[in-house]
């Protein structure tokens, strides 16, 4: 019943992958932009005279939050309209994986970039004199939120444009699917976490414009730590894509590879969000008492290191699944 030729399967995978990329990829940006618009409206209602500034900030913030979902649109278009080589069933799995990677990868960045944009809109009303600093802080903060989506985009492009024709179909199909899931799911937590940090960076800049440089430093440090688990996801996905697995018809080696991707991808979500909570709080207290930056940063880093531990367990289990089993 499922005895179709390779070309048919590749089309099936490309169209399903394109649908998944755009469908999943639309979630985050819409949520983030909605949050921004809600904050903008609340801000304008407090001081309608500054509506123009708030409106401008809202549109800038929403444009950045939109970028992750534009990446998803590009990948979906490529999947729909490119011609793919049809020597092997592997191509079908690769295309599906590229779609999943970009779709999941866009969720976190979209939601995350909405937080600083919303806080910047509120801040414009609270402190109109600091609007330039606020805008800079928002742009830097939400740009960092996009990095995990860019990791997912890189993975999707590598999957779409590499030539895997010399590799055995089994178990490489599982490695490819695992790679997409590791990079895609792994991007969710870091995107949301970085957004939380940038939100309090914008809020702090509006409340205490004089401590803006200190706030920016701590914000970038906190965001960098939240990105680590997305980098683990990217690492596992590169290992899965480029490591040659010996050909076998057995199911277990294939499941080990796909499991490594799922383990690292899902395992990266929690630490990313949690470290974001920590850094959000640290940034907001550095804004209130900038002279205590050393103590607060130390506690932040210790707390984030502990929250990172389960991400490292996931990395270890994923590496064991790939190299030891």
């Amino acid at each position: 019943m499922i005895d179709f030729d390779i070309q048919t399967w590749i089309k099936v995978a490309a169209f399903s992958g394109g649908g998944l990329a755009m469908g999943l990829g639309a979630i985050g940006a819409a949520v983030g932009e909605g949050y921004t618009a809600a904050q903008a409206n609340a801000a304008i209602s407090r001081n309608p005279k500054l509506a123009g500034d708030v409106f401008k900030t809202m549109l800038m913030g929403q444009a950045i939050a939109e970028s992750a979902s534009i990446f998803a649109l590009v990948v979906a278009m490529l999947l729909l309209f490119s011609k793919f080589p049809a020597q092997s069933y592997l191509t079908a799995w690769v295309l599906l994986s590229a779609g999943l990677s970009m779709g999941f990868g866009a969720i976190g960045a979209g939601i995350g970039a909405g937080f600083p944009a919303g806080a910047a809109c509120t801040g414009m009303i609270r402190q109109p004199a600091a609007s330039n600093r606020l805008m800079t802080n928002m742009l830097i903060g939400s740009a960092v939120c996009q990095t995990p989506a860019i990791f997912a985009l890189v993975t999707a492009f590598i999957l779409l444009f590499s030539n895997f024709s010399g590799r055995p179909v089994s178990p490489t199909w599982a490695a490819m699917l695992g790679a997409g899931l590791a990079a895609g799911l792994g991007a969710i937590g870091s995107g949301i976490g970085s957004g939380l940090v940038a939100e309090s960076g914008c809020e702090g800049t509006a409340r205490q414009p004089q401590s803006a440089p200190t706030i920016l430093n701590v914000m970038l440090l906190g965001q960098a730590v939240t990105q680590t688990t997305a980098i683990y996801g990217l690492l596992i996905s590169f290992i899965l894509i480029f490591k040659d697995a010996p050909a076998t018809d057995a199911l277990a080696p294939a499941m080990a590879l796909i499991s490594a991707g799922i383990c690292m991808g899902i395992g990266a979500i929690g630490p990313g969000v949690g470290e974001g909570f920590t850094a959000r709080s640290a940034v907001s207290w550095v804004a209130r008492s900038p002279d205590m930056v050393a103590e607060i940063t130390r506690v932040m880093l210790v707390g984030q290191a502990v929250a990172e531990s389960t991400g490292i367990y996931s990395l270890v289990i994923a590496l064991v699944l790939i190299f030891v089993i």
Binding site: M255, P271, S289
Partner: protein, 82 residues
């Protein structure tokens, strides 16, 4: 492709290990992050008690880490023992 029983069991064990550690890592990551967030806030309000607050944070995080370690143990059992 004929799949043997033993192969299927191994495949399920490997998949289970990944899912166990992956899902198990979400809760502790978020929870420990919240604990550390409150510690930052508390030290911001009352810097003199930084030592006490850091100790409490670490003990609380260690307890919330336990489910992550259970997941790790189950994943290792699935990979190497079962």
């Amino acid at each position: 492709m004929a799949i043997e029983g033993a192969d299927l069991v191994k495949a399920a064990a490997y998949l289970g290990a990944g899912i166990s550690m992956g899902l198990g890592a979400i809760g502790p990551g978020v929870g420990e992050g919240m604990a550390a967030a409150k510690a930052c806030e508390a030290i911001g309000k009352n810097p003199k008690e930084a030592g006490l607050l850091t100790r409490t944070m670490l003990v609380g995080q260690a307890v919330s880490e336990s489910t992550g370690i259970y997941s790790l143990v189950i994943a290792l059992l699935l990979l190497f023992v079962v």
